[in-house]
Amino acid sequence: MSYKITEEGNVSTVFLNGEIDMEIREKAEQVIMPLVEAKKEVHLNLKDVEYMDSSGISLLIEAHQKAGEVGTKVVLKEISKSVLKVIMMAKLEQILNLD
């Protein structure tokens, strides 16, 4: 997985790509969680994420919940078809912020 972060005001957009599984989860967590903890509004661009398993979905849930605790939000943007399928399988499309 590689990533890029852009900043605009209080919004940090993280562009993730590749496959997000158990091996990659920690790296993704180290990128996303500090932004959430810094109370940034975090936009995760998932256009180029080809595969995401339960480890990646768990990270999305954790980031979403942490954001709620600190008074900000995580928004999922341009979700790839394969990731959307997994989010829907987990029945999280009404829980997470999908744009």
């Binding site: 496959e19 599984d21 158990m22 091996e23 595969y51 398993d53 339960s54 480890s55 979905i57 768990s58 990270l59 849930i61 954790e62 919940q65 394969s82 399928k85 997994v86 399988m89 987990a90 029945k91 999280l92 829980i95």
Partner: protein, 136 residues
């Protein structure tokens, strides 16, 4: 058509990508799997991840896990075998649908994707033996 193939992988999270790649290669040989392949690959990868996480509790090991594919009469059977700690079947449960928390999702996905899942513990070569089947 029928097919019977297996491969062994090191028990660690770095093997997951290789397992998906092997699974993709096998499923590409089964024309009937075309519309199900990515879901089945997710189920296999989740089951392999459970071996790393739970049967070995994330510890380093030189053990291998085996993944076997059997396809016959439109039934795909995937066996995952490992030599880790014997699983406690009562602990293998998916999260509840309304329980929005990380964890238990992998088992939930497996249950959603595959038709039947059985689990056996043996004292012979392999300890944990997970069998997942799907009619395709």
């Amino acid at each position: 058509m029928s097919l019977n193939k297996y491969k062994e992988f090191e028990v660690n999270s770095s093997s997951l990508k290789e397992i998906r790649s092997f699974s993709r290669e096998i499923l590409s040989q089964i024309p009937e799997a075309k519309n199900h392949d990515e879901n089945i690959i997710l189920a296999i990868s989740e089951a392999a991840q459970n071996i790393v996480k739970h049967a070995y509790n994330g510890r380093d090991t030189s053990d291998l896990m085996r993944i076997e594919f059997v396809y016959e009469n439109n039934i795909l059977t995937v066996n995952l075998l490992d030599k880790g700690d014997p699983a406690i079947p009562a602990n293998i449960k998916p999260r509840k649908l309304d329980d929005i928390k990380p964890g238990g999702l992998g088992t939930f996905f497996i249950g959603e994707i595959m038709d039947e899942i059985t689990f056996k513990i043996s004292k012979q070569d392999w300890v944990n033996h997970l069998t997942m089947t799907k009619k395709i």
